[in-house]
Assembly symmetry: C2
Homo-oligomer: 350 residues x 2
Amino acid sequence: MTTMSNRYRAEPGNNRPTMRDVAALAGVGTKTVSRVMNDEAGVTEATRLRVLKATEQLNYQLDIAAGSLRRTGRRTLSIGLLLPSVANPFSGEIHRAIEDGLAARGIAVFAASLDDDPEREKTLVAAFLRRRVDGLVLTPIAKSQAYVIPEHSRDLPMVFIDREPVGIEADAVVTDNAVGAARAAAHLISHGHRKLAYLGDRTDIQTARERRRGFTEELGRAGIATSTIPILEDLHDEESACRAAHALLGSDDPPTAVFSSQNLITFGAMRALKDRGLNRTTALVGFDDFSLSDMMDPGITVIAQHPERIGKLAAERLLARIDGDHVAPRTYVVPTELIPRGSGELRPPN
Amino acid sequence: MTTMSNRYRAEPGNNRPTMRDVAALAGVGTKTVSRVMNDEAGVTEATRLRVLKATEQLNYQLDIAAGSLRRTGRRTLSIGLLLPSVANPFSGEIHRAIEDGLAARGIAVFAASLDDDPEREKTLVAAFLRRRVDGLVLTPIAKSQAYVIPEHSRDLPMVFIDREPVGIEADAVVTDNAVGAARAAAHLISHGHRKLAYLGDRTDIQTARERRRGFTEELGRAGIATSTIPILEDLHDEESACRAAHALLGSDDPPTAVFSSQNLITFGAMRALKDRGLNRTTALVGFDDFSLSDMMDPGITVIAQHPERIGKLAAERLLARIDGDHVAPRTYVVPTELIPRGSGELRPPN
DNA sequence: CCTGTGCCTGACAACGATGTCATGTAGCAT
DNA sequence: ATGCTACATGACATCGTTGTCAGGCACAGG
């Protein structure tokens, strides 16, 4: 059993044809088959047709991985994409835009989920590297991305998305978090609010800190003492956000307007407002757009990000790097957009 | 430039270490390095440590693709996953469950989006095959999947999800569409409704047909003449669904309860109901759960699918096949669940 | 008829790894 | 001391493909 000839595998029928089989059937050399499969010049039309016929007869498919071993540049025509979670709709949109941006070049995407786990980040990047991907698109979560410096200096193309990397100079595509949050604050202030409140995500997340910064800076610009504004942070899911919002709204001096720094927090805030019958009274602006936001009562005003633009830009930058672009790394900022739908335009009482 | 030695590439620093480099540094043979990297038995602890030290010094990463060329079974430790779209939340959940199911075995996932395009299905499957994936998880959309028969008979593990394949006998994991739709009908009928209406997706989609079948069969069981029930189909997005619902609700004899066979259609129906102020009067049950369904007015009663269970089961079946399971292919059915939230429990007037 | 210029074409080595197998060494019993 | 076993180790061929290079053929010009 184990001394069986290599040509024949233990499993029945598991004999995928190789270039040699095709070459033999077409009566040409393997190099000629290779030329045909790769659309290289210098093959007679007659030979080409003979080879193509043989590939069809045998149902032959080129082995990209085997080829990459010898191919100049060792391209595997695949990249690694690390997302918070492939099940996250925001990530999904980015993923899709990247897929679309790379499809024309025949590049396939390995996708994996981070789950906010710094250890996983390293493990998954290592898994991508073992597969010799042509590039990486990463959402960083670990404290530092210095661990990929060796690869980066080996010229492995790399683009960070959503958050900027720490400890390494590399391309990044991020949302304008601070500006977006500031815009939300300005919007609420311009509608007469002075008693704002801030519901924020875990402070170890860079984007969360940026949003808070933008928000508080705008307060300063408007002459509102930051100390008077409740800043509730380290909320990471709908439930904790809902509890925090309840505490806030049930206090002696409740805010007239709430800003929530992220989707799930917005949901929690919406729920608390509704529970207390304040949804048509207390203003709300959320960071991140979401489906059905316009079906709420009232519609929810949001600071919309543009995941598809982030993904598109990341794919473009990665392709440029793959094609040998060596300009200095920089961070690309994708603007946000305030979409008024009602909840953010509610005015304070009196 | 082109006559440069092979050892050195054109790009600077692009010299990834190989097993040979590690072997040289550790003063052992490449085979020993291979053994260490693959946790094979028969290596002294002392040697093992020397090798590991060398890999760390050189920042060496095993090349899985190169290894797969020679490895028994030619395993690439990767699979191909074809989804309607990676941006679709339902698909995202399936994707995630599959990723989780395969991660323990070190298998990476190539994901790609179909976009309801039968041609794309074939192109993308071919792209997976060229990468010699160890298995395929496919959402079929083409009229027939007979084109993968050659691969299937070469024992390439394959699991179809969401829809059953046509023209090939292979494992499939699907939702119990007919039963779910029937349950929705029964639920509405049990709440006193006789004047139902059906809003359905494109009829070339198998699951859409199944849902209609389940729905109408339940009508029959309840003694409601199918001919009296409006069946509006070929709706594929929110807008067309909204228009259809408007037409329905504005007719002489509007239904007292509506069933929508899919997420976007549900959204369209919700919008139409709200536009007409009927959201608290006309009952609605939608197929597919969605976030914020409980925040609607009233909450939306749905037939929930379990994408995470579909993904988990698909991953299990695929792994079993990869491990050599040769039982006859079958279809696994994942049950749906009716989640009452208000809209489906509204009673007809009088 | 000879030479030169292109153009097709295939032999061959090599990419980075692993399966096979032979070799060497240590340890133990005789 | 001898012979045996068991185990650790490395040489080598090979996986399927592509880069390099040399050979062969056709055709044009002298």
